[in-house]
């Protein structure tokens, strides 16, 4: 590494933490830093914390921001105004029309490129993870909610109002359970971690056997993905059925996406998938294969995401590398 080497910085802004990484052109993270978001302090304070996190990441690997960083990419909660780099609103962070891009440009004196966190994660997997080498890719992150993203001809699909890729909000049964957004039968309402948890609690209250609540002091507390994965591995029947239902509905959604886009790769990631792993992806793959035209499945890969927590900073780094003055 010489003083002439150029890098970018990718930043992942979440509801609880900020993660910044210095990234080279091959997607290697050569330095990083984390900070708590502390969203309750308000937008101005959080932008200051993002700046500090960026500087700390650069210091961690002795990179000089002024001379060695060409641009900064951000994955942020949205919806966003991409051109202005404004956060239109964030249920998590309670900001409205927050000028993220312009404020960070002032503070760092660097070009800043913004996209939503889910798109950044998909772009990271596309460039440096499970989608590497493909031309078209669709990605789904199965976590507390379900997010998605679409790459066509190597570019993120943003759409007319920059709101494409809301794959969690695909109706899979108009008479299905209500989604957090209010509409019935969305993929998210069938397959997210919250949906899995609801399914388990319903079965439990109907007398189905499960040991998942045994070591929980407060049985109403959130069931984390790792706990779900352990019960799945232990063959807890009720938990297994709920997780398999999630994978089957994700499989229906993937079948739809294959018939719609016919992509080369479908990447499945997020907390639920990371915790359960290949058995989950295998069931998604089997369900999709059963429900899709043979031709749209030929040589198509349905694979687990590879980058874990790094996907969004690496995708944000791609945004920064793609920045042209």
């Amino acid at each position: 590494m010489s003083e002439n080497d150029k890098y970018v910085i990718g930043v992942d802004i979440g509801g609880t933490k900020i993660y910044a990484a210095v990234v080279d052109a091959n997607g290697a993270i050569i330095g990083s830093a984390r900070k708590r978001t502390k969203a309750h302090l308000g937008f101005d304070a959080v932008v200051g914390r993002i700046e500090k996190c960026i500087r700390k990441a650069a210091e961690s690997c002795d990179v000089d921001i002024d001379s060695q960083i060409t641009a900064i990419g951000i994955g942020s909660p949205g919806p966003l105004d991409l051109k202005e780099g404004k956060i239109i609103e964030t249920p998590n962070l309670k900001w409205v029309n927050a000028p993220l891009k312009s404020r960070l440009q002032e503070l760092t004196n660097k070009p800043v490129v913004v996209d939503n966190d889910c798109n950044a994660g998909i772009l990271g997997e596309y460039a440096f993870g499970a989608g590497h080498g493909a031309q078209d890719m669709v990605g789904l992150f199965i976590g507390t909610g379900i997010g998605g993203g679409i790459i066509i001809d190597g570019k993120l699909l943003h759409g007319y109002n920059e709101n494409a890729g809301e794959l969690g909000h695909m109706i899979l049964d108009p008479n299905g359970p209500q989604c957090g957004c209010g509409v019935n039968g969305h993929l998210e309402a069938f397959a997210s971690r919250l949906a899995i948890e609801r399914e388990i609690r319903k079965a439990h209250s109907n007398g189905e056997p499960t040991r998942i609540f045994e070591d929980m002091e407060d049985k109403t507390q959130r069931i984390r993905s790792k706990k779900l994965a352990k019960a799945f591995a232990d063959n807890d029947r009720t938990v297994k059925a709920a997780i398999e239902k999630s994978a089957i509905y994700v499989g229906y959604a993937v079948a739809n996406l294959l018939n719609i886009f016919n992509p080369q790769v479908v990447v499945i990631g997020g907390g639920v998938v990371e915790a359960v792993g290949e058995p989950y992806v295998r069931l998604v793959r089997k369900t999709a294969k059963d429900k899709v035209f043979n031709i749209a499945f030929r040589n198509v890969r349905i694979v687990e995401a590879e980058l874990g927590d790094d996907s969004a900073v690496l995708g944000a780094a791609v945004l920064a590398w793609n920045y042209i003055d």
Copy 2:
């Protein structure tokens, strides 16, 4: 019109008829011809009939194919191998690996560009019809079956195996009625003309009142779209309910497509929509609006196709105009 003017020829190959049109750069049809397909005669005979139809269209407007036609575009039943210009197979025409492009190039001595008929129709509406002026567009044709097509950044989306845009085969309820393709709950199984007909027959056999069978000698014969439209206009309750159910399911599909692509325009066409008209499109629009994020609906147009039977020849003409040696 002078002898120096250049044109292209667009051809729409259907199961029952061939339609060829001479088209200028503005999408005006200056001459045309039709011929029956006579698919039972086999591929060689039909290619000869296509050539004759092309020559007849050129003669109808005194255009010289050798000197005035730059290329020929074809909308064909599929699936197709687009690069080779081969028809991989056609349930309607019973051809397998038919070398449509190379044979027509030999016969006409012109470059030939091939795409599937539904994509050609969508491209026609995009360039010269209801989608004119948009950048991104999604189209659905509701006929005997349901076909679709997707335009991103002004280009048809083909996908990895050239099979993108199968929008009729979107699962809208995994426990729904079986589709012609064998999978349960596809849009086509809820909303095509055949699905509407099945719904009416089911209601009729359950004793629901309808007058649609009154003037039919053979009550098992196919109910055509025009007959459906007349009964709809006459307020036949059972027919109305079946058509409205079709429009509502198309509305669910459009909501999904808006959340997935966030296009600027959604064009709805095909026999059922042409016959029923604006009341059908209005119900699609209302249903989609109720089920989609506000931001993905902002300034988005959901409109009826404008070109009728000309959509595919005009889209085929666009393919030909886009041909670059």
